[in-house]
Structures are given as C-alpha cells and as structure tokens.
C-alpha cells in the first residue's frame, strides 16, 4: 500500500518536472511597440472627504481645483463624478478597483480633509493606479484653512509629477497687465497678479502711469517692469511683492543709462543676482547687464541697430534677444558677456519677444509672417531643426513659459474693428490645448512665475 503510494508520488513528481520543462522552454512571442497615443489620461477625483460640514466643503473645493488644474494641463481628463460607482468613505482602505476601471478611470485620487480645534487643516491623499492596483502616492499636507487653494495646487503638482514624470507647475502665479479704460477714455495698463488658474487676481500698480512687460524674479518675490510715466519716459522698475515698494532701476539713485534714453523690460538672470535689459544709448537700443549688488551696468551689445527683449538661458550662460541688425527683426543668441552672437532664425517675416525655455532646449518667439499675421512658435536654442508653430492668429505677443517648460502663455489679440481685443491664452508645446486664462477685462503681457517655494 505504502509502496504503491510512494511509486505514485514518485511518478507524480516526475510528471511535475516534465511538465515544467516544455513550458519553460517555450519562447515568448516578442512584440515591439513603438507607437502610442497622446490622449489625456482619465483620472477620477472624488470630493475629498471630511468628517464635518466645513471639512467636507473644503474637500469639495480642493477636488474642484485639482480637477480643473489637471484638465487644464491637457494631459488628463477628469472622469465625470456622476459615473462614480464606489463612494469613498475611508481613504485608508483599498478602493474597489473594478468600480473605477469600469468607468475607465486609469488613476484614482482620494483625499481627506480634517480641521482640528486649533484651526489647523490637514489634507491627506492617496493616488491609485487602477490597472496595477498599486498606490502611487500617499501624502499629507498641513496648513491653515485659508491656504486650502495652495494645497490644492500642491496636490495637483504631486499628482502631475507622479503620473507624468515631469515637474508640475500648478503652484505658480502669473503677473500680467490688466487693461481698463480711465475716466478720460484713455487705456489704463496696470500690473496684476493671479494664480496660474486665474484665481485670486489683485492689482499691484495704480492708474497714474502705465505698467508694461512685467517679469518675475527667480525667488518669485520681485517683479521687473517698464513704467511709461507721466513724463512720458519709459523706465525699468523693480517691484517688491513683500513690501510693495517700487524702485526705478536706472535713474534717481541708480546708474544712468544715458541722458535721455529709455530703458525697457528687464529680466532676471537665473541666479537672481543680475538683470539683463534693453536700453537706449546714443540713439539705438543695446543689451545691458545690470548687477544688482554692485549696481554696475555693463553694455554687452553694440550695434547701430536695435537690440531688444533679452532673455537668459536657464543656465545663465547665454542670452537670446531680438535685433533688426539684418534689416528685419530676427533672434540671436550670445554668451552672457555678449560674445559669439549667432543668429538662430532665418525664415521669412520678423521674429520678436524671445523667451528661453526653463528646460533650456527651446526658445519661444513671436513671428510676424508675410501678410501681417502673427504666430507663436518655438525653435531650438541653437537654431537647428526648424521651428514649430504652436498658434497662429491676428496678433501675438509676450510668450512666457510655465515653470516646467511644457506650456506657454501669451498675449493674444483678436480683430475687432473698433479696437483689437487683448487676452491671455495658453497652449502646450505640441500646439494643443489652447485655452484662455480667465482675467477680468482685457489683459496682456503675461509672465509666469517659477514654482512658489
């Protein structure tokens, strides 16, 4: 009996061994996948849960801001909450993934808001991959309740980064020129700032002078701009967001560029220590570098034509600018000292307002084409490989990069017989996802801040 059993078992084990061999030997079919789609990823973001009414309301607001951010990025598409099957009640339990897969949600973001007796808000969230059923992220932020919107942006950035591999850009702001009509019918142009999604707009400057062409400092604490003052002069200014103090850079106590020349829109070097600016000297415009500590102003281009709109490379070692030295306005790159000036655009038409990408590889530009229409485009910083047009229209100005270099905001002008209508739009690097940034009234000259720290 035992022997029989033993023999049977031995046979069994042998069979097991035999069985494994051919299966292991079988060669898998090899498939090379080189194509993919670029469709937005469906993400389900139910309202963050809250133990009480106040927390639940905040949770709904936070989910709304995150949904909006991710949708606006063009890389995600929020799943309609009406389709949700599972009701999230506890974010520390694994979701029923099937319920989310069946509504085609590739990722699920669940969160919880608690507000304690000392008015401290905690926001916890978990990001799930519904296909692999893995948690991709689980984080918690603490703040005060009035800061909920910034937390929503930070959560959006975390989700964006986890799902794309790329740095986010939602916790950032945009400074721009808000247009309005004064009592005398003249157009007023004042600096305003808003969150990247258009929330929290507020004005920075008053109606006694025109403020134009703002740019953020790397610290996000200061803004440079051009003031077209009552005396008619255009002068470069520095505005400190913390103190509200404005400082004229090149007159008054500062170095004088020339007796009566104007100075235009300064932009910060990536290290924040110096500015680069176009200013008029002896009748034409040149690029200058201004050291903010030593207050030394150094002219770095010298050509009888007009060199304007300088913009630093993120490494700080190069500068792109526009110049009509060839007859028509084109873009040029040079070292930070003004050496090795190299033209990078060659096509028909004129190029203006270059902005070096924070990634370093591309330069965004405005191009005025034959026939007068405008385009927003990008070209490699070394001018190779041609250019890519992202938007074409009646008028374009002032491209500015989102902190991660994936999105550009710009001034768009739309034809209206009684006066061009200006507004701020954004578009992604592929030329998709064109959308208007909400501003109250006409707006122009957007400049995106770096990520707020």
């Amino acid at each position: 009996m035992i022997i029989a059993r033993l023999a049977r078992l031995a046979a069994l084990l042998a069979a097991l061994a035999l069985l494994a061999a051919p299966a292991l030997a079988q060669t898998p079919l090899r498939v090379d996948v080189t194509d993919g789609h670029l469709d937005p990823m469906p993400v389900a973001i139910p309202d963050f849960i809250g133990a009480d009414r106040r927390a639940a309301d905040a949770g709904a607001d936070i989910a709304r801001v995150i949904n909006n951010n991710l949708a606006n990025s063009g890389l995600f598409t929020p799943v309609d909450p009406d389709a949700f099957i599972e009701q999230i009640e506890n974010i520390d339990l694994r979701p029923r993934f099937g319920d989310w897969r069946v509504i085609n949600a590739s990722a699920l973001l669940v969160g919880r808001v608690t507000i304690d007796g000392e008015d401290r808000m905690q926001i916890s969230f978990r990001l799930w991959d519904t296909a692999t059923e893995q948690q991709l992220l689980g984080l918690q932020f603490a703040t005060t309740p009035d800061n909920w919107r910034r937390i929503a942006h930070k959560v959006s950035d975390a989700v964006y980064e986890r799902l794309t591999g790329e740095q986010g850009y939602f916790d950032s702001r945009i400074v721009y020129v808000a247009e309005s009509t004064g009592a005398d019918g003249q157009t007023l142009r004042r600096l305003a700032v808003m969150d990247q999604d258009g929330a929290n707009p507020s004005l920075l400057t008053d109606r006694t002078y025109m403020a134009l062409l703002p740019n953020y400092s790397p610290s996000t604490q200061q803004i440079t701009f051009v003031a077209q003052r009552e005396d008619g002069r255009n002068m470069s200014y520095l505005y400190d967001l913390a103190t509200g103090r404005r400082e004229s850079l090149f007159d008054g106590g500062g170095p004088s560029i020339s007796g009566e020349g104007q100075s235009l829109a300064p932009r910060f070097a990536p290290d924040g220590r110096s500015l680069v600016v176009a200013a008029e000297r002896h009748g034409s415009h040149h690029i200058f570098r201004y050291d903010l500590r030593s207050r030394i102003l150094r002219q770095i281009t010298n050509h009888p034509a007009d060199d304007v709109s300088p913009s630093y490379a993120p490494g700080g070692d190069q500068i792109v600018f526009s110049s009509n030295r060839s007859g028509r306005s084109q873009l040029y790159v040079m070292t930070a000292d003004g050496a090795d000036v190299t033209r990078i655009t060659f096509a028909e038409g004129q190029y203006y307002a270059p902005a070096w990408s924070p990634r370093g590889d591309l330069v965004a530009f405005v191009r005025q084409q034959a026939g007068g229409r405008f385009a927003l485009g990008v070209v490699r910083a070394d001018g190779s490989g041609g250019e890519r047009i992202l938007y074409e229209g009646y008028f374009v100005d002032s491209p500015t990069w989102a902190p991660n270099g994936r999105i550009l905001a710009f001034t768009r002008g739309d034809f209206d017989r009684n006066g061009t209508q200006y507004s701020i739009w954004s578009v992604d690097l592929a030329g998709f996802n064109l959308r208007r940034l909400p501003t109250q009234g006409a707006a122009s000259d957007p400049a995106w801040s770096p990520l707020i720290e």
Binding site: D184, G185, R233, Q262, L264, E280, S329, Q368, D416, T420
Partner: protein, 174 residues
Amino acid sequence: MMRLTFAAVAALGLLASACASRPDVDPDPITNGGSGNVTPDNGPVQPEGPTPGTPEHFAATAGDRVFYGYDRHDLTNEARETLRQQAAWLASYSNTRVLIAGNADERGTREYNLALGARRANAARDFLVAQGVDPSRIETVSYGKERPTCRQSTEECWAINRNATTVIQSGSMS
C-alpha cells in the same frame, strides 16, 4: 492709385494732428473727412486762427506730426517738409521747448514698438537739429503703441498712429 491712397492718409493724418491738443478724443477719420486741408503754404505766421506762439498755433501752421511707413523710422519727403516748417516755427519762437513723442501702430509687439517709437522720435529730432534747432530745446520720448490717436483696427488708423508728434512744452514767451 497708390498715390491717391497716400494723399488720403496724409490728409487724415493732418486731420488727426489738428486734434493733438485734445489727445483724449479719438478723431473719427471717416466722418471728419471733409475739412481736412489745413496745410499752410506760406510762412510760419498766420494772420488769423490760434494765437501765435501757442501749441495750437504750432500745430495749425507748422503741423505737429510726421508720419512713417510700416516698421520704418526713416523720414518721407512729406515728413521732411513738415519738419522744415517746424524748424522755421521754432526759429521764430526761440523760447519754446518741444517734446517729440514717437508712436507706433498696434501691429507690432510691445517692446519692439517702444524701441521703434524712440527711433521715430530720434529721427524727427535729428532732422530738426540739422535744420538748426538747438538740441537742448528738444526732448524725445516713445509712447510705443500705448497712446494711439486712432483706435480702430484699420490700415488708415494704423497709418495715423505711426508718427512722431512734436508738442510745444513751454508756451512762447514772446
């Protein structure tokens, strides 16, 4: 035909210049079309009209603005003629100082147009200086495209807005 168009634009421009002392008012180049021809053909002094030596007088007799081609800052023959009259007027009223403001149309980017406006103002100033006006009497600024005379999105409007406008700063002491 080209010539005709240009004449019309120039006439409109002169019309617009008549409004220069009232910069808040947008002249309507269409409806005001009839009474445009105020180009003086004799010396700087007009028997009737604005008080001699005033900004109004300057505008009416010499013409207070000159126009430029698209994306240009070189002076046309018409512009030179106007500037010669401005120089003659300034010679007659030697106590005056002027501000020359360069303007651009809206079909250019903001910063480029600030530079272009400065170029236009400088071109006008340089011509006046060449005509004997003391450079210390002249100040220049650029309004870029920020202070257009005419706001409509038409070629006519843009042509009017491409100018350098000479404004008498301090009234004549004479």
